[in-house]
């Protein structure tokens, strides 16, 4: 059983409360991604699990042991660093073998394990080379190999792909996923890239300012964000937000603002009725906006002026102005629009999000 349990974990640096009361149950064989903007405490949390950072208060359990006081080497973990952290004076083979040598494995066992890992990663040809003779992608593979050969209880990844170019990053992302499926080792992965988080994680932990904002499966975060921050952070392009006023007229609930006047479907009107007369934040994902086809959608659409057109091939992103707000709409590539065009954008009434203006929590 290689579960990781984090209980009321806190970290204070000189006067900075970097990690605030984090609780997390990571199951055996699970791939959990910590994601958030820089300075959100995700790396500090990971480093505390690794034993590279002391714990101010709280408890970390790996397997069935509390590891708070254990040095990194006794925690049975392996870590992949952002800058690879390969030993520059050692060959690829020695880099991968180092951890095993330190633990007193015999030569044949070391050789078998290193070769097996090299085969999984496709770096058999590079074993005798030095790290600086390798490309970024190959170095990252060696760093992965160094973690794999140890057969640890838990893999820790600290932004392992952020030094790679975009194309390689996607390729390595897939490989990390494959390796995880193949080895089934519990993994904690830190990244600031929400796409990486969504594609890799069995579950994703969104953090901000040292606090866990939401824990959930990728689509759960996407479909049911707990608060405005998660809603804006998960999904690309990001969710559009506008402040609207809730009004109860003609027996229906309306969200109104300059340029926007939307009649809320009965399904969600119930939750929002307590907020009548208040301002709330409306959230609409770009992919839930489309160019309106007829007047029958008058209650669920609004006028917008096109400011920028981004043609991505599979879709077109329209940066539009709606009253005082700017929004992005991801529309079909067949849409013909020009800058300064006035369009009517229709929205998907089942996919509207509302957030409290003060607490930022989802309504």
């Amino acid at each position: 059983m290689s579960r990781v349990i984090i209980r009321s974990l806190n970290k204070r640096f000189d006067g900075v409360h970097a990690v605030k009361d984090v609780n997390l149950d990571i199951h055996d064989k699970e791939f959990v991604v910590l994601v958030g903007p820089s300075g959100c405490g995700k790396t500090t949390t990971l480093r505390m699990v690794a034993g590279l950072e002391s714990i101010t208060s709280g408890e970390i359990m790996i397997g069935d042991r509390i590891v708070n006081e254990l040095p990194p080497m006794d925690r049975d973990i392996a870590m992949v660093f952002q800058n690879y952290a390969l030993y520059p004076h050692m060959s690829v083979y020695d880099n991968m073998a180092f951890g095993l040598k330190m633990r007193g494995f015999d030569r044949t066992e070391i050789s078998n394990r290193v070769k097996a890992a090299a085969e999984i990663l496709g770096i058999e040809e590079q074993l005798q080379r030095k790290p600086r003779q390798l490309s970024g992608g190959q170095r990252q593979r060696v760093a992965l190999g160094r973690a794999i050969v140890r057969h640890p209880q838990v893999f820790l990844f600290d932004e392992p792909l952020s030094n790679l170019d975009a194309k390689l990053r996607i390729q390595m992302r897939v490989e990390i996923k494959k390796i995880h499926v193949r080895l089934g080792t519990t993994a904690i992965y830190v990244t600031h890239d929400q796409v990486e988080a969504m594609t890799l994680g069995d579950r994703v932990v969104v953090m901000k300012d040292g606090l866990v904002q939401q824990v959930g499966e990728p689509l759960e975060l996407y479909n049911e964000p707990a608060n405005r921050f998660v809603a804006g952070f998960i999904g690309s392009p990001a969710m559009n937000f506008a402040t609207v006023e809730m009004a109860d007229t003609e027996g229906a609930l309306w969200a109104r603002h300059e340029g926007i006047r939307i009649k809320l479907p009965a399904a969600i009107a119930g939750r929002l009725r307590p907020h009548v007369g208040e301002n709330v934040t409306l959230g609409i994902r770009p992919e839930d906006l489309r160019v309106a086809s007829g007047s029958e959608e008058a209650d669920l659409s609004f006028d917008a002026v096109v400011e920028v057109i981004e043609k991505l091939g599979s879709q077109i992103l329209l940066d539009v102005r709606v009253g005082p707000n700017t929004m992005v709409a991801a529309v079909e590539p067949t849409v013909k629009a020009k800058v300064h065009d006035r369009l009517r954008l229709a929205l998907n009434p089942d996919r509207l999000y509302f957030f409290d203006r003060v607490s930022q929590a989802a309504i």
């Binding site: 590279l52 080497m73 392996a78 660093f81 800058n83 952290a85 030993y87 180092f98 951890g99 330190m102």
Partner: protein, 313 residues
């Protein structure tokens, strides 16, 4: 199309009128020559000329006030049979070897300590440099007082701690004198090692130590397998500089003992000074200082080759 653009651009490329100086400087060879000239002059005047002059002096029997005649290698032949010269050679080698080992060990230890995070880190680092910053002559005079048989603060302390009963004659006893001189040299040389090695340590990513810690390396193993091999090129350069400096050391010994007692602390440089300047035998003095040259040359070549090997690993 492209050709048309080139043609159209031509008038702008046309050279403006230039004076003769500009034209000479436009020539890369002349330009390089003028850039190198100041350095070449300085090197020639202050390094090459004295060196050649020294070589020329070494093969004459020049004395102060007497130009001297060419005598071939006679000066060197005399040195071979000079027992004091042999003592000086042995002392210099011993002095260099022992102090280098201690300076490296202490300097590395200090550098490793200073590389950690602690309060007043910058201040401590600045303090460490003090022995290196104070003019050698001044600090050596202070040491001379500390070694003084009557006023020695070291003797006073040891006496009051009950460790010694009689005064130690630090600079008067032949064996103690060499050790005392070495102590001062180590004291003065450690900061250079510490600061240079610290600079080397700071180029080693802390992530490597973290990776090694996770890999199961204990602190000593992390030093042995990660830090030391990565610091080796810097260490070699530092040792190279230090060996050259120590081998030709003069001020310390000149002030503390003047080479005595009974030549117990006589080094190449002090003996060359004694013969060449003190006795006025310029030719023989030059020969002594020149005798250092082959030894240093070997040291330098071996170390440079080694550095190159390490760097191409």
């Amino acid at each position: 199309m492209a050709v048309d653009y080139v043609a159209a651009a031509k008038p702008y490329v046309a050279a403006p009128r230039r004076g003769p100086v500009t034209r000479v400087l436009e020539n890369e060879r002349w330009f390089a020559f003028f850039l190198l000239l100041p350095t070449a002059v300085l090197l020639g005047l202050f390094i090459a000329y004295p060196f050649v002059k020294g070589v020329l002096l070494a093969v004459t029997d020049a004395k102060v006030g007497v130009p001297g005649n060419f005598v071939g290698l006679q000066n060197f032949a005399v040195l071979m049979n000079d027992s004091i010269f042999r003592i000086a050679v042995w002392n210099t080698i011993l002095y260099t070897a022992v102090t280098t080992v201690f300076k490296l060990a202490l300097g590395l230890w200090l550098a490793l300590l200073l590389n950690r995070h602690f309060r007043a880190k910058a201040l401590t680092r600045a303090f460490i440099l003090l022995p290196f910053i104070i003019p050698t002559v001044l600090s050596t005079f202070a040491w001379k007082w500390m070694f003084d048989p009557t006023f020695s603060v070291i003797n006073w302390t040891l006496f009051h701690l009950g460790i010694i009963r009689t005064r130690i004659n630090w600079l008067g006893d032949p064996q103690l004198a060499l050790i005392s001189v070495m102590i001062v040299n180590v004291w003065r040389g450690v900061p250079f090692y510490a600061i240079s090695l610290l600079a080397g340590l700071q180029t080693i990513s802390p992530e490597l130590a973290e990776a090694a810690a996770i890999d199961g390396a204990r602190p000593w193993q992390r030093f042995r397998y990660i830090t030391w091999p990565l610091l080796l090129p810097v260490t070699m350069v530092v040792v190279l500089f230090s060996v050259i400096q120590t081998f030709a050391d003069f001020q310390l010994v000149y002030i503390l003992t003047g080479g005595g007692p009974a030549n117990a602390t006589q080094l190449f440089a002090t003996y060359a000074y004694q013969i060449g300047v003190g006795t006025g035998l310029l030719g023989e003095g030059a020969a002594i200082s020149l005798a250092m040259f082959p030894v240093l040359l070997v040291v330098v070549v071996v170390q440079l080759l080694y550095i190159r090997r390490v760097e191409t690993l």
